[in-house]
Symmetry: C2
Subunit: 256 residues, 2 copies
Amino acid sequence: MGHVICICNQKGGVGKTTTSVNLASCMALAERRSLLIDMDPQANASSGLGIRLNRGEPSIYDVLLSREVFHRVTRPTALEFLQILPSTQDLIGAEVEFINLEARERMLASIVDNVRGLYDYIFIDCPPSLGFLTLNALVASDSVLIPIQCEYYALEGVGYLLQTIRRVQSAFNPELKIKGFLLTMFDPRNNLCHQVVDDVRKHFSALVFRSVIPRNVRLSESPSFGKPVILYDITSKGSESYLALSKEILDAEGNG
Amino acid sequence: MGHVICICNQKGGVGKTTTSVNLASCMALAERRSLLIDMDPQANASSGLGIRLNRGEPSIYDVLLSREVFHRVTRPTALEFLQILPSTQDLIGAEVEFINLEARERMLASIVDNVRGLYDYIFIDCPPSLGFLTLNALVASDSVLIPIQCEYYALEGVGYLLQTIRRVQSAFNPELKIKGFLLTMFDPRNNLCHQVVDDVRKHFSALVFRSVIPRNVRLSESPSFGKPVILYDITSKGSESYLALSKEILDAEGNG
Ligand SMILES: Nc1ncnc2c1ncn2[C@@H]1O[C@H](COP(=O)(O)OP(=O)(O)OP(=O)(O)O)[C@@H](O)[C@H]1O
Ligand SMILES: Nc1ncnc2c1ncn2[C@@H]1O[C@H](COP(=O)(O)OP(=O)(O)OP(=O)(O)O)[C@@H](O)[C@H]1O
Ligand SMILES: [Mg+2]
Ligand SMILES: [Mg+2]
């Protein structure tokens, strides 16, 4: 049965989308059947894989509202073992529109539960907030991967995120675990980066992935070509680091 | 009468808080009476100026609900001409809690209109979303300053932001103008950065500030000391660039 992992942190710009796109792609390269669900109205994960829907084209918004079936909206990508359930800005309205619907926090979970048998890994990219869309992702997931940028502001919100996860565990999804904290945009020349890494490893020790994602220009260039970094520049440090992360996750689950 | 400028972009991590804190500080250095309103539950602008409220301490949340008066919550900072109306995580609940209140989109505007006579400049830091809190900021403002990180994903959401601003202009605040687009985290060694700058200048021409904020480690270090960059390292490129921006804004308003 597929592992469902959401990539979540309400702090903006910490590498959620970059991690979702590139980790899912590395899993696909290892021939694990993978699905990326774009739960962010910014639709960066969709465009990062070269998929740009026009306004009104069916997206995850329509699947959540049961106006469209999962199979007709999910699309293939340039990688044989990777599919994407794309997003559009229509999703922005969901926060307010769905407020009076029954079991609104389980709308994504009911979709995921129907299809998880088709995949080995399902990744969910979240927007930079702890509202309805992120709540849905947490309820639908087995575990949470938390990217942490090696910067001061990025550390501040982690406490609140963990409180929110605990609340979701007690109210909606007792099985939800923390997959790990991923340090991103690490720049070895920057003292602050080293301090943040030390802080995070001290606080969260074994929950912090050994793999650290360096600041690497190829990671910020590849989305402009609609490609994950492994298809844009396989020799880059960006590719190396996300391949190492995918291997670390596969090894930990005993199927390396 | 004070100019009210909100710093807004739903894309995360583009430099909204860094711009709010440092631009407000530079205006204070130029002896303009300045107020920074932290409208983000992450409260990064508050901690960036060394203010850390405990949970339950009165914040902007209480002022919005008229449970506390403005003057008792607003605090001085290390700069004589700068005050801050700080935020806490209590604000996260506002999005859902205030949904049934009368004139909920004007809650901040009614506070700002009462105090704008006391200041030359009022800056509002927004969260990375286009929900209730950002809507309130847009309705309360005379103009919008839009930071754009010199990266690919940052360009994608600008269209939607401009649509939202137009909707706010027609429904709530016809006087709202675009103050300008500010290019942030510019790295001259990175080709993509140059492309983004060219794109933005081509699309928005005169609306783009001449001042460009370079990527500068002092800007990411200063918040960990609770100081704006001009009090942390006045000789840094970070200080230089925000001083240049404040001068450009003062000159444009004829009071340089
Ligand atoms: N390791 C890295 N090295 C260099 N650039 C990176 C790296 N990771 C991400 N980026 C760039 O930094 C910016 C922010 O990353 P990204 O958009 O993935 O963050 P996010 O958390 O998804 O943002 P949001 O909060 O808006 O959803 C993007 O322009 C991305 O291309
Ligand atoms: N010009 C710069 N040079 C170097 N680092 C910067 C610069 N501007 C911002 N930063 C750092 O980049 C990160 C993101 O900036 P900031 O938090 O100001 O963005 P934001 O748009 O307010 O994020 P959010 O969407 O979460 O509110 C922070 O850690 C900040 O210290
Ligand atoms: Mg993202
Ligand atoms: Mg911010």
